[in-house]
């Protein structure tokens, strides 16, 4: 389990609205960065690679399904990977695999995997063979994305004790210590420690499987058609 698809109705409205806005900004910025790229030529590639992520999710290795978000990021580059993450999450939401309202947050998590996978692979590749670089970048990326998901869940269970607009202004202008006084962690009996340990324990198995499969796949691509993992948009 490298990441979890958050369903509708569990997170507070403000959080998924922030997620939608943040994902819109991320996708908008990606499209801005791609303004000099002929997107007409990229649409079929974008479609095929997004479809590969969905096919990867259809392959079950033990009870775990692959994500292929890191290898997609390596092939597409960071900007198209964010767009691909949104496309995949919209399609997943349509079949009930992850919520509609949380498409933004899920896009940020999977988009992060694509971007970070691309960056780490580029760094590791200078010192390691492609297969090893892919394994290391996949494992680290998925660990970080799981932490990002845990951060989202943690924030979802924070209560801000702000009753009025005046108090909000006061909080905004106060020091970090003053701000902390207005925060309580209740979550209606939510056991974050249990949630985090369970997620990380399952994640460890998932990251290892995904890193191994990605390493073999990238090693195979490097032997047969290396320009695919060398090209950047």
């Amino acid at each position: 389990m490298s990441h979890l698809h958050i369903p509708d109705g569990l997170l507070p409205v403000w959080l998924w609205v922030v997620g939608l806005v943040a994902a819109s900004v991320a996708v908008g910025f990606s499209l801005f960065m791609l303004r000099n790229v002929d997107l007409r030529k990229k649409i079929p590639l974008l479609g095929m690679m997004s479809a590969m992520m969905l096919v990867g999710m259809s392959i079950e290795v033990v009870p775990y399904h692959l994500n292929l978000s890191v290898i997609t990021g390596i092939i597409l580059g960071p900007w198209l990977a964010i767009v691909a993450a949104l496309i995949v999450n919209l399609l997943l939401a349509l079949i009930g695999h992850g919520g509609v309202t949380v498409v933004g947050l899920n896009t940020l998590v999977i988009g992060f995997e694509g971007v970070m996978g691309y960056i780490l692979f580029s760094v590791f590749r200078k010192a390691l063979r492609p297969g090893l670089s892919a394994a290391a970048s996949t494992f680290l990326t998925l660990f970080m994305s799981t932490c990002l998901m845990l951060l989202i869940v943690f924030i979802a269970n924070i209560d801000l004790n702000i009753a009025s607009a005046g108090e909000l202004r006061e909080v905004m202008e106060s020091s970090p210590a003053g701000f902390a006084k207005h925060i309580t962690y209740s979550g209606g009996g939510f056991n974050f420690r249990f949630f985090a340990i369970a997620s990380l324990a399952m994640g460890l198995v998932g990251w290892t499987i995904e890193a191994f499969v990605t390493a073999v796949a990238v090693g195979f691509i490097d032997k047969v058609k290396p320009d695919i993992i060398g090209k950047r948009s």
């Binding site: 369903p7 007409r40 649409i43 590969m52 990867g56 399904h65």
Partner: protein
């Protein structure tokens, strides 16, 4: 994941739900999800889930299969629910009900509406690159899924996929994934060439005509609106609807949908 099965249901069905217009189904689904978000009382959420399952049956879809598909992505909800066990049993049950109801409503929408129609409707508010990307992804998915199925079949026939040999299987799957990526990359180049020859200029056409609004639209849309109204009232007043009123509503809805299901068969 059962995208292929859901696509088949959407294309082959002829029920009252299939015949309803796209805007009304999208609106009704939005109402169900809004109810899931703001609803916090157990009877309301149980009744809402039953209402969606009644609609699934009215659509001529296998109810148990749809329930199983909706349970699959429920691991997050399950972990979330288990983490809330400290607050009693009601909260975890509510969490699971919310996740499964929203997932079932989305599956119902996609199982009764061809993808092109949904994309044509919701794509109006999307940037073109996103709309075209969604369209290409959906088309490409079935091509790649067939390739993957053939690959796994070949792998099994040649002894490359054996029970208990986890490392061996993972290595073979990894090679297959690598081969699929190369295949997908080549296909995308070829697809662009073919599309260019056929006059592709960066704009893919989609469906812009929908079925007219008819009596088929009303039952699901109305009952979803009633649930949303009830949830909004409960949120405002803090008072939940009575069990008997939900039971009567569901009974009437089930009878109506059953009559329509048999009549429209």
């Amino acid at each position: 994941m059962d995208i292929a099965r859901i696509d088949y249901w959407a294309a082959s069905g002829g029920s009252v739900m299939h015949k309803a217009s796209v805007p009304s189904k999208v609106l009704a689904t939005a109402a169900v999800i809004a109810t899931v978000i703001i609803g916090s009382f157990l009877p309301l959420l149980v009744a809402l889930y039953l209402m969606v399952l009644i609609s699934v049956r009215a659509a001529g879809l296998p109810v148990v299969k749809v329930m199983v598909i909706s349970f699959l992505p429920g691991l997050f909800a399950l972990l979330f629910a288990l983490s809330k066990l400290g607050g009693g049993l009601i909260t975890p049950v509510i969490i699971l009900l919310k996740a499964f109801t929203a997932a079932s409503a989305m599956i119902l929408l996609l199982s009764t509406t061809p993808y092109n129609d949904i994309l044509g409707f919701v794509g109006r508010v999307m940037p073109r690159v996103l709309r075209d990307g969604l369209f290409m992804t959906y088309r490409s998915f079935f091509i790649l899924l067939k390739l993957m199925d053939n690959f796994i079949m070949a792998l099994k026939l040649r002894g490359g996929f054996q029970r208990g040999r986890f490392l061996h299987n993972s290595r073979n799957i990894g090679s297959g994934v690598g081969m699929l990526f190369i295949n997908a990359y080549d296909k995308s180049q070829r697809l662009y060439d073919v599309m260019s020859i056929r006059g592709y200029s960066g704009r893919l056409s989609g469906t812009h005509r929908y079925r007219a609004v008819s009596a088929n639209d009303l039952p699901y849309l109305l009952v979803a609106a009633v649930f949303l109204g009830e949830a909004a009232y409960a949120m405002q007043s803090g008072r939940q609807g009575s069990l008997s009123s939900f039971a009567v509503l569901l009974l009437v809805y089930a009878c109506l949908m059953e009559v329509l299901r048999v009549w429209k068969r």
